[in-house]
C-alpha cells in the first residue's frame, strides 16, 4: 500500500482533518474514562484488601471457662500467639469510628497491620483522620475515650485517608466480660470477605459506565462514514482492491486511535489525583489507588487500537464499496420480538425469586440469584432496545400527521439498531440510576423520624446495659448516672428496666417509674408506680405509656440508660465519652448512640453507598452518553446531507428539518427512557423485597433522582440542539448538485 495514497485518501480535505480530530478526541475521552474506571475498580478492591485486617475474627470468649486454653483475667493466659479482640462501632458527630479493643501480653507474637507494637492498656493507635478529629475537639468529647496516643496507623492498613480507626489497648479482665470478645491469632491472613453482592454490583456498575464509553469510541470512529465511503469508491475506481481500501481504513483508524489512546493515558494520569478526591463508600481514595499501571495502560491502548482498526476495516469490507460507490444496499435486519426474551428472562428470575421469598420458600443464595437476574435484565434491556425502538418508530410513522413525523418515524423503523445505538448510553444510565435510586429509598424508610409529639428526642443517647451484670452490680450504674447528670448539656438520665424472664403484659416492654416517665415529657402517664412503653419507641415510634403490672422497679432488671441532652453536638459527645470512660462493665460492647445512630444499620448504609456510587457513575455515564448522542446525531446528518437538501428542495424549511432531527433523537430516547425508568424502579423493588424477605420495598426516590433524570433530559436536549445547530451546513442545496 502506497503511503502517499493513504495520506491523500485519509487527509485529503479540511473536512477529513475535522473528522480525524473528532475521532482522536473521542477516543482520548473514552480511554481516559476507561482507565479511571479500571483504576477505581482496582482501587476499591485494594482498599478493601488493605483494611481486611479489621475483620479478623476467632473464637468467642466464654466467661468463666477454666478448661485447657481458656482465657482468664490474667493476660498471661493468652500466651504469645493469641490476643483478645473486641470490635465495636463508635460514633462521633455522626461519623462511624471502627474501634478495636485488644488485650495481649507485651511479648505477644501477634502483629496488627499498620502499627509497630500492640497497644498496652491505656494506649491507643489511631488513623490520621481520627487523630485530626481528636485534636480538633475538646478531649472530653472524643479523645478521652481512647487513652494515650501511642502512634499512627499507617496508610498501608487503611481503606481511605478518611477512615476513622482506633486500636485501643484494654485490660484482659475488661475484655473477657464483653460478649463480642474473641481470641484472634492473626490479623495478617484475613481473606477479605467482600460481599459477593457488593462486588457483583460494582462490576455491573463498572460495565454500565464502561458501556457508554465503548459506545462513544464506536460512534466517533464511524464519523463521516458516508463521505469516507465516497472517497474509497474513488480509490476503487482507480484500481484499489477491496482489501486495499479496507487496509487504508484500518490504518487510518489505527493511527487516530493510537494518538487518542495515548492522549487518554496522559489525561488519566493527570486526572487520577483529582478523581481520588471523590468520596466513594468509605471516603476518598489515596492517589496511589487510582494510579494507572503501565501494564493496564498498555493493554487498554493496544486493545483500543486493535479493536478500532479491525472494526474499521471490517466495516468497509462489509459495506461492499465498488468503483461506483456503495454497491450493496444493506438495510438493517428488522429486529424480532425474540429480542425481548433476555429482558423477560431477567425479570422472570427477579419476580420468581421475590414471589418465592414472600411465600417463605427456601431460595439458596438469594443475593446471587437476584444479582444474576439484575444483570440479565440490564443486558436484556440493551438487547430489547432496538425492538422497542422499532415499535416506537412504527407507532410514530403510522400516527404522525406531519411530514417531519412521517419522515422521522419511518427513519426510526428502518434503522432501529442504529437509532437505539445513539441513545443506548443514556438509556442504560437512566435504568441504572432508577435501580439504585429506588434501592436507596430503603435507607429513608429505615431512618427514624425526627422529633415530634410523643417521640423520643433524637438528642437522647441510648446506652444498652448488660442486664445480668447491672442487676448484680447496681453501684457502678448508679455512679455513672450521677456523673452524667452533672455534665453540661445533659438534661436527665433515666433508667429503663425490662423483665428478664416470664411472660405477661410487661414481657418485651420497656418499664420505668412513673416519675421518670413524667420527666421524659412524652405524653400522658397513667397513675401507677411503674409504667411501660413499647420497645419500638427507641426506634422512633410514638411512646404510649400504659400501667405496668410490676409495682416496684427495684424488682426489675436495669437494661437501658436514656441520657437526655440539650441537643448540642458537644453535649451528646461529652455524654458518649463519659459513658465510655467510666466503662460500666457490660456496656463497652455497644457504645451509646442516638436512635438515629442506631437506625443507621448495615443495609441502609450499603444501599446509600451503592446509591452514591451509582450517582457518581451515572453522572459520568450520562455525560458520555450525551456526547455520544450529539456525535451520532451530527454523524447521521453528515451522512444524509443529500436527503436533507432534497427535503429543502421540496419546500421544507430549516425548522421542519430541525423537527425531523429532533424527533429522530427524542422519540426513541423518550420512549425507551420511560421504559427504563419503569423497569428500573420495578427491578429495585424486586431486589429489595428479595434481599430483605419482603421487609423493605421501594419508596419515592429523592430529589437527587429527579435531578439526575432532569440532567439526563437536559443533556440529551443540549446534545440534539448542538447537533441541530449544524443543520444549515448539512442541508445546503448544493448537496443536490454535487452529491
Amino acid at each position: 500500500m502506497n503511503a502517499s495514497v493513504v495520506r491523500l485518501a485519509v487527509i485529503g480535505s479540511r473536512a477529513s482533518w475535522g473528522r480525524l480530530l473528532g475521532i482522536t478526541a473521542g477516543v482520548a475521552v473514552g480511554v481516559t474514562l476507561a482507565l479511571l474506571l479500571g483504576a477505581a475498580y482496582q482501587g476499591l478492591s485494594a482498599r478493601d484488601a488493605r483494611s481486611s485486617w479489621m475483620s479478623a475474627s476467632g473464637e468467642y470468649v466464654v466467661g468463666g471457662d477454666t478448661g485447657p486454653g481458656a482465657v482468664t483475667a490474667d493476660t498471661a493466659s493468652l500466651g504469645n500467639d493469641r490476643v483478645l479482640l473486641a470490635p465495636t462501632t463508635d460514633r462521633h458527630e455522626g461519623a462511624r469510628i471502627v474501634r478495636l479493643d485488644v488485650a495481649a501480653p507485651v511479648t505477644s507474637n501477634v502483629t496488627i497491620p499498620g502499627i509497630t507494637d500492640l497497644p498496652q492498656p491505656g494506649e491507643y493507635y489511631a488513623s490520621p483522620a481520627l487523630i485530626d478529629r481528636i485534636e480538633r475537639v475538646p478531649s472530653g468529647e472524643l479523645g478521652d475515650r481512647f487513652g494515650t496516643l501511642a502512634g499512627t496507623i499507617s496508610d498501608s492498613a487503611l481503606a481511605s485517608p478518611d477512615s476513622l480507626v482506633a486500636v485501643v489497648g484494654t485490660k484482659t479482665s475488661d475484655l473477657i466480660e464483653r460478649p463480642v470478645t474473641q481470641t484472634v491469632t492473626s490479623f495478617t491472613d484475613v481473606s477479605y470477605r467482600a460481599s459477593t453482592n457488593y462486588q457483583t454490583v460494582a462490576i455491573v456498575g463498572a460495565i454500565a459506565v464502561l458501556f457508554p464509553v465503548l459506545l462513544l469510541v464506536s460512534i466517533v470512529t464511524g464519523l463521516g462514514a458516508a463521505a469516507r465511503r465516497e472517497r474509497f469508491a474513488t480509490l476503487r475506481l482507480i484500481g484499489a482492491t477491496p482489501r486495499t481500501v479496507a487496509a487504508i481504513a484500518a490504518a487510518e483508524t489505527a493511527a487516530t486511535s493510537l494518538l487518542g489512546a495515548l492522549l487518554g493515558v496522559l489525561l488519566a494520569a493527570l486526572l487520577g489525583p483529582v478523581a481520588a478526591l471523590v468520596s466513594v463508600d468509605d471516603g476518598k481514595f489515596f492517589p496511589a489507588d487510582l494510579a494507572v499501571t503501565s501494564l493496564t495502560a498498555a493493554t487498554i491502548v493496544a486493545v483500543t487500537v486493535a479493536a478500532s482498526a479491525i472494526t474499521a476495516g471490517w466495516r468497509i469490507r462489509r459495506a461492499g464499496i465498488g468503483p461506483l460507490g456503495q454497491t450493496k444496499q444493506r438495510p438493517e435486519k428488522t429486529p424480532s420480538w425474540l429480542r425481548l426474551l433476555p429482558l423477560v428472562g431477567g425479570l422472570g428470575i427477579l419476580i420468581t425469586t421475590t414471589v418465592a421469598v414472600l411465600a417463605g420458600l427456601p431460595v439458596p443464595r438469594v443475593g446471587t440469584v437476584v444479582i444474576i437476574g439484575f444483570t440479565i435484565t440490564t443486558v436484556g434491556l440493551l438487547v430489547a432496545g432496538p425492538y422497542l425502538t422499532l415499535l416506537a418508530g412504527r407507532i410514530m410513522a403510522r400516527r404522525s400527521m406531519s411530514a417531519a413525523g412521517v419522515i422521522a418515524g419511518n427513519r426510526i423503523r428502518r434503522t432501529p439498531v442504529a437509532t437505539f445505538r445513539s441513545v443506548s448510553g443514556l438509556v442504560v444510565a437512566v435504568f441504572m440510576v432508577s435501580v439504585f435510586a429506588g434501592a436507596a429509598t430503603t435507607a429513608d424508610q429505615g431512618v427514624a423520624p425526627g422529633d415530634g409529639p410523643g417521640l423520643l428526642p433524637v438528642s437522647s443517647l441510648i446506652q444498652y446495659l448488660d442486664p445480668m451484670f447491672a442487676a448484680a452490680n447496681p453501684a457502678p450504674t448508679e455512679a455513672v448516672q450521677a456523673r452524667l447528670a452533672v455534665i453540661t448539656g445533659v438534661t436527665g438520665v433515666t433508667t429503663i428496666f425490662t423483665m428478664q424472664s416470664g411472660d405477661g403484659p410487661d414481657a418485651n416492654r420497656l418499664l420505668m417509674s412513673a416519675d421518670a416517665a413524667h420527666d421524659l415529657n412524652l405524653g400522658p402517664v397513667p397513675s401507677a408506680t411503674v409504667v411501660s412503653i413499647d420497645s419500638d419507641a427507641l426506634s422512633g415510634a410514638p411512646a404510649v405509656f400504659t400501667a405496668a403490672k410490676a409495682t416496684d422497679v427495684a424488682e426489675l432488671t436495669p437494661s437501658i440508660l436514656l441520657i437526655g441532652t440539650d441537643g448540642s453536638t458537644a453535649a451528646i459527645e461529652r455524654a458518649r465519652t463519659a459513658l465510655q470512660v467510666d466503662a460500666i462493665a457490660g456496656t463497652g460492647w455497644m457504645p451509646a448512640g442516638t436512635r438515629t445512630d442506631l437506625a443507621d444499620d448495615r443495609l441502609q448504609s450499603m444501599a446509600a453507598s451503592f446509591a452514591n456510587l451509582a450517582y457518581l457513575g451515572i453522572g459520568v455515564a450520562t455525560l458520555i452518553a450525551g456526547l455520544s448522542l450529539a456525535i451520532a446525531t451530527i454523524s447521521a446528518m453528515i451522512d444524509r446531507r443529500r436527503m436533507l437538501a432534497l427535503l429543502r428542495l421540496l419546500g421544507m424549511n430549516l425548522a421542519g428539518l430541525r423537527r425531523i432531527i429532533t424527533l429522530e433523537a427524542a422519540a426513541p430516547l423518550l420512549s425507551v427512557m420511560a421504559i427504563s425508568i419503569g423497569l428500573g424502579l420495578l427491578v429495585a423493588d424486586l431486589i429489595l423485597v428479595g434481599l430483605t424477605d419482603g421487609g423493605r420495598s421501594v419508596g419515592w426516590p429523592d430529589a437527587r433522582y429527579i435531578g439526575a433524570l432532569l440532567a439526563s433530559a437536559v443533556l440529551a436536549l443540549a446534545a440534539v440542539a448542538v447537533a441541530v445547530s449544524r443543520l444549515g451546513q448539512n442541508s445546503d442545496l448544493a448537496a443536490i448538485r454535487y452529491e
Binding site: P331, L650, G651, N653
Partner: protein, 227 residues
C-alpha cells in the same frame, strides 16, 4: 403574451469558473422546454437559478410576476413547495419512506391531513400504474418505477412548473420512453410548464421548444413542436 418564467441577465460563477454568462430567457405557461448542451455548459446551473435553488450573482428571475431572486430562503422554500416540482436523474426519493409516503410528503408540508394526503398519493400511483408498488421502499423499485414515483411526488401539489434534470438519463430506452410519455401526459393534461434538461435528442424532440446552452450562454432556441 407575458412569459410565466422570465430570466434577465443571469450570471453565475463558481470560483473562477463562469457557469452562466448573461442569459435572457422567457418560458410560457404550459410550455415544454428542453434544455440541451454539452457537459459543463451551465444547463443545471440555469435550471437551479430558474427554480431558486441557487441565486445568480447578477440578473433576475421572476415566476408568475414574483421576483424569485429577491425572495428570502424561507419564501423561496414556500415557492418551491407550492409552485415547483422537481425530478432528477436518480437518488431523489427518501430511502426510508415507501413509495406512497414519498408522494405524501409535499402534501403534508403544504398542511394537508395525512389521510387525505394518502388518498391523493394512492390516486397518483394508480394513474401511473404503480398501485402495487405503493408500500415498497425506493430500494425495492426498478429505475423506471422510481422515476414515475418521483414524477408523482413532483406533480402531486399541482405545481405550475416542473423542473426535470435528465429525468430519463439513468433508464434503458424502453423505460425512458414510458417515463417520458407518462410525464408529458400529466404536464400537458394539467397545463404545467416543463423545463427539462436532457442530452438525448429523441427526448428533446418531445418538447415544444429546444434551448441550447454553450459556455454559459444561450447558443440557440428553436421550436421543435412534436406532441
Amino acid at each position: 403574451m407575458t412569459a410565466l418564467i422570465q430570466a434577465r441577465g443571469l450570471r453565475k460563477s463558481f470560483g473562477s469558473t463562469d457557469a452562466l454568462r448573461g442569459i435572457d430567457l422567457g418560458i410560457q405557461q404550459g410550455e415544454v422546454v428542453a434544455v440541451m448542451g454539452p457537459s459543463g455548459s451551465g444547463k443545471s446551473t440555469l435550471l437551479h437559478c430558474l427554480a431558486g435553488v441557487v441565486l445568480p450573482d447578477s440578473g433576475t428571475v421572476s415566476v408568475g410576476g414574483t421576483v424569485v431572486t429577491a425572495l428570502s430562503e424561507a419564501h423561496r422554500s414556500k415557492l418551491r413547495l407550492t409552485q415547483f416540482g422537481f425530478v432528477f436523474q436518480f437518488g431523489q426519493l427518501l430511502p426510508d419512506l415507501t413509495a406512497v409516503d414519498n408522494i405524501t410528503i409535499p402534501l403534508l408540508l403544504a398542511g394537508m391531513k395525512r389521510r387525505q394526503a394518502l388518498t391523493a398519493a394512492h390516486g397518483w400511483l394508480d394513474r401511473l400504474g404503480l398501485a402495487a408498488a405503493a408500500d415498497q421502499l425506493p430500494g425495492e423499485l426498478s429505475g423506471g418505477e422510481a422515476q414515475r414515483v418521483a414524477i408523482a411526488r413532483a406533480l402531486v401539489t399541482r405545481p405550475s412548473v416542473l423542473f426535470a434534470d435528465e429525468p430519463t438519463g439513468s433508464l434503458d430506452s424502453l423505460a425512458a420512453e414510458n417515463v417520458l410519455v407518462a410525464m408529458l401526459e400529466l404536464v400537458r393534461g394539467s397545463g404545467t410548464t416543463l423545463v427539462m434538461i436532457t442530452h438525448d435528442p429523441r427526448t428533446a424532440a418531445y418538447a415544444d421548444r429546444e434551448i441550447i446552452v454553450r459556455d454559459g450562454q444561450l447558443a440557440a432556441t428553436d421550436r421543435v413542436g412534436i406532441a
